[in-house]
């Protein structure tokens, strides 16, 4: 029993360590990159706060003094790290509001978008993959392969634009951006979901093909189980293992996609906020939103790990 508990605890603990490392790296790299950008941070901030026409050297100097931007960089970084340890992400340099308050609303929107896109990608990718796997070598397999290569080869912004042109501009079925109701959720989540489904359908296809030809399924039939019982009891779970494992990798792609798709569709989420903060040189907001996204990936990966442990008893168990 204790060994079994350890089987679950060990990966969770290692994920926890990873989360700490992610926080440290994301904070430092974000900070370094922001300061590597050309242009004067104080000017950009003043422009953001008072409007581009109101900025002169005096306003910038006042800004610099107010925010302590003239202190050595190392001090500014250490100050941020010290605050993160106290679970304080600091204040936005533009609005002066706490970063956490700024992000709170946006996290919800991003979660809504990702939470719609993931199930949608499963809804699109898995049935296509299963059909291709069961009909391998025949026309449905080739059609799904072609579709998946096409979707994978087109970058998210191009795919998003194409959908926007087709569904909003030409057909006028859906609004092209913003967020007023559910209709605006369709295009960005579909763009994300198609990119994810391009990969998950391939993994599902390989997995289903392997299980369909495996002696496990053959024996299930020989035992006398009906085709439905054989597939339900011995096919699905075995086929789901690799699909689920790859989901963990896909989450990284999801974060990338969120940055692009939110910006493209003007979706008021955390990716959109990050891009905006970069233009404004709002360093604490950049660090804060990158940190939240990084931790989100670690958290979701931990959830995927846990799900893998649940469906695959071989994980973490020694052979007797």
């Amino acid at each position: 029993m204790r060994r079994n508990a350890w089987r679950v605890l060990r990966p969770l603990l290692s994920r926890l360590g990873q989360a700490g490392l992610v926080a440290l790296l994301v904070g430092c790299i974000g900070f370094a990159l922001m300061h590597a950008l050309p242009g004067d941070q104080a000017f950009r901030l003043a422009a953001e706060r008072y409007g581009p026409d109101m900025v002169d050297a005096r306003a910038a100097a006042a800004m610099r003094a107010e925010l302590g931007l003239d202190r050595p960089l190392a001090v500014q970084l250490l100050e941020w790290l010290g605050r993160v340890l106290r679970l304080d992400l600091g204040r936005s340099l533009v609005t002066g509001e706490p970063v956490i308050e700024e992000l709170r609303v946006q996290i919800g929107y991003t979660a809504l978008l990702a939470g719609t896109a993931l199930p949608l990608s499963a809804l699109i990718g898995l049935p296509l993959g299963i059909v291709a796997g069961l009909w391998r070598g025949r026309w449905p397999d080739h059609a799904v392969l072609g579709l998946s290569v096409l979707l994978r080869a087109v970058p998210a912004y191009a795919l998003g634009l194409a959908l926007m042109v087709l569904l909003s501009v030409r057909l006028r079925w859906l609004p092209p951006g913003g967020f007023e109701g559910w209709a605006e959720l369709v295009l960005p989540s579909l763009t994300l979901a198609l990119g994810l489904a391009a990969v998950s359908s391939r993994v599902a296809r390989e997995s289903v093909a392997a299980v369909a030809a495996s002696p496990v399924l053959v024996f299930a039939r020989w035992k006398g189980l009906s085709e439905r019982d054989a597939v339900r009891r011995h096919g699905l779970r075995n086929a789901a293992i690799p699909v689920l494992a790859v989901l963990g990798l896909q989450l990284i792609g999801l974060v990338e996609g969120i940055l692009i798709v939110e910006t493209l569709f003007g979706w008021p989420g955390i990716g959109h906020a990050l891009v905006h903060a970069i233009f404004a040189r709002d360093v604490p907001l950049v660090q804060g939103s990158a940190l939240i996204m990084g931790l989100g990936v670690v958290l979701l990966n931990a959830a995927v790990d846990f799900a893998c442990l649940l469906i695959d008893p071989r994980r973490g168990r020694q052979e007797a």
């Binding site: 002696p215 024996f219 009891r233």
Partner: protein
């Protein structure tokens, strides 16, 4: 219990019309196992698949399979009999059991879904079935936590759950070591003893001997001889059957009784050798030496550390304690290994010619070296242009031997070199290896689970038990 089976003129043809099984007429009844004995490619497994109605899609069957006076229905209707009337014990059951389901559940689901018992009764019945086969301790384990023998018993428990009168077994002992093999064969005989009709397919004469019953020897899709197993194995009438029986290691000639030259200087020697894996001692305090022109055999069941010992002597593994001395002043490739599974010891996309050319270039060998060895190992040069998948196991193992001998080894570690070969081929390869030891003055370490084979191959035989090496007794 019913279960009378008749095969009437059963023929299986490939898509191009080549007969793979030709005009087979056999009968099997409850209580007496029917055993089909033959080499790989003799069509014996196709017979079982034809009875199941599970032939690969491009093969065509003619002739009839009759069960209890009724010709078996075709297609979908045949599937309705699976589990209920006809059960097939799969080859290598550890691959056929669901790795994500506990042992008990795999048995209980048959009681519930095939026999329609309510869930609590299914569990109770499954527990009883596991107990009958001595598996009560593993009910909550997964298949990957079971040994090969236990997985085999579990697969049998699964089939017993549906209680079909006809039990087919396809190479029921494949992948098991000698002891487990005999157990598995005895268990199948038991199934027949319980009134089931058992039809088993094997290439192992030892298994056929244990199963007894009615024996049919198959060659190239035809039955060359059939009759009661005991009589047929004692007094085979056909030439092919005679060669098959003679191929059993126990029937091989013993090495010449006159003491051979005393073994030369030791090519490898180990003192107080020990190896641990993750804290578990696999070998402890082993002293062993292999001299020139000598064969030393190490016997033991799967997982006892035989292969580990060979790999330590070769320097492929680092010992946890003790030391290994190899003959000084020689390149490491003068100490060679012959692997158990020939196909996995070759790159699948390379022809033999290419593989040997690479070897020759790497070691600066003259092509004549290979020419001489091809002759000696009786490998026709035409085989050089084939890839591993196009060669038989015996041919491939002889190429592996050629590859090792080309480097002029002083020591060869042969890890179960013939256990995946058909009996007649096994005898050829093993006796060839025996000749080469003397001829090339080579030290051979032979690892095997077959005591009779070890006796006939080796000058000295050891066993490994509880991580210790000791001289073997005189049995076998």
């Amino acid at each position: 219990m019913s279960g009378h089976v008749q095969l009437r003129g059963l023929t299986v043809r490939a898509a191009d019309g080549t007969p793979l099984v030709e005009n087979l007429s056999l009968a099997a009844r409850p209580g007496t196992p029917l055993v089909l004995l033959g080499e790989t490619g003799s069509g014996k497994s196709l017979v079982l698949q034809a009875i199941m109605g599970a032939l690969p899609p491009r093969l065509r069957r003619t002739g009839e399979v009759v069960l209890d006076g009724q010709p078996l229905p075709e297609g979908r209707a045949r599937r309705g009999l699976w589990g209920r009337r006809i059960a097939l014990l799969p080859q290598e059951p550890w691959l056929a059991l669901d790795p994500t389901m506990r042992a008990l559940a795999q048995v209980a689901e048959v009681c519930r879904l095939v026999r329609g018992m309510p869930p609590p009764a299914s569990r109770a019945e499954a527990e009883r079935l596991l107990r009958d086969l001595g598996l009560e301790g593993v009910a909550r384990l997964y298949p990957f936590q079971l040994s090969g023998g236990m997985a085999q018993r579990l697969a049998l428990a699964v089939l017993r759950a549906a209680d079909a009168p006809l039990l087919l077994a396809d190479e029921p002992t494949k992948g098991l070591d000698a002891e487990r093999r005999d157990e598995a064969a005895l268990r199948l005989r038991d199934e027949a003893g319980r009134g089931r009709t058992v039809i088993a397919v094997t290439h192992d004469i030892g298994v056929a001997r244990i199963l007894g019953g009615h024996l049919a020897v198959m060659l190239e899709g035809q039955v060359v001889e059939q009759g009661p197993a005991e009589r047929l194995l004692a007094r085979p009438a056909q030439d092919y059957t005679r060669r098959l029986v003679a191929a059993e290691p126990a029937q091989w000639p013993m090495p010449s009784a006159a003491p051979r030259r005393p073994a030369g200087e030791a090519v490898v020697a180990a003192r107080r050798l020990g190896k641990r894996f993750q804290g578990r001692a696999v070998l402890e305090d082993v002293d062993i030496a292999v001299g020139r022109g000598e064969t030393v055999a190490v016997l033991g069941p799967s997982g006892c550390g035989k292969t580990t010992l060979g790999d330590l002597l070769l320097g492929l593994l680092r010992p946890s304690q003790g030391e290994v001395r190899r003959l000084a002043g020689l390149a490491p490739w003068r100490f060679q290994k012959l692997y158990q599974d020939p196909p996995s010891a070759f790159a699948p996309h390379q022809s033999m010619r290419e593989a040997l050319r690479h070897l020759g270039r790497r070691h600066g060998l003259a092509p004549a070296v290979f020419g001489g060895l091809l002759d000696r190992l009786r490998l026709p040069p035409a085989l050089l242009d084939r890839r591993p998948a196009e060669l038989s196991g015996g041919e491939l193992q002889r190429f592996a031997l050629l590859r090792a001998l080309a480097l002029d080894p002083v020591f060869l570690f042969a890890d179960e070199p013939t256990s995946r070969l058909d009996p007649i081929t096994q005898r050829e390869v093993a006796l060839l290896l025996r000749e080469l030891v003397t001829e090339r003055d080579l030290g051979l370490l032979l690892v095997t689970h077959d005591a009779a084979l070890a006796r006939r191959m080796a000058d000295r035989v050891f066993t490994i038990e509880a991580a210790r090496l000791s001289p073997a007794g005189c049995a076998g």
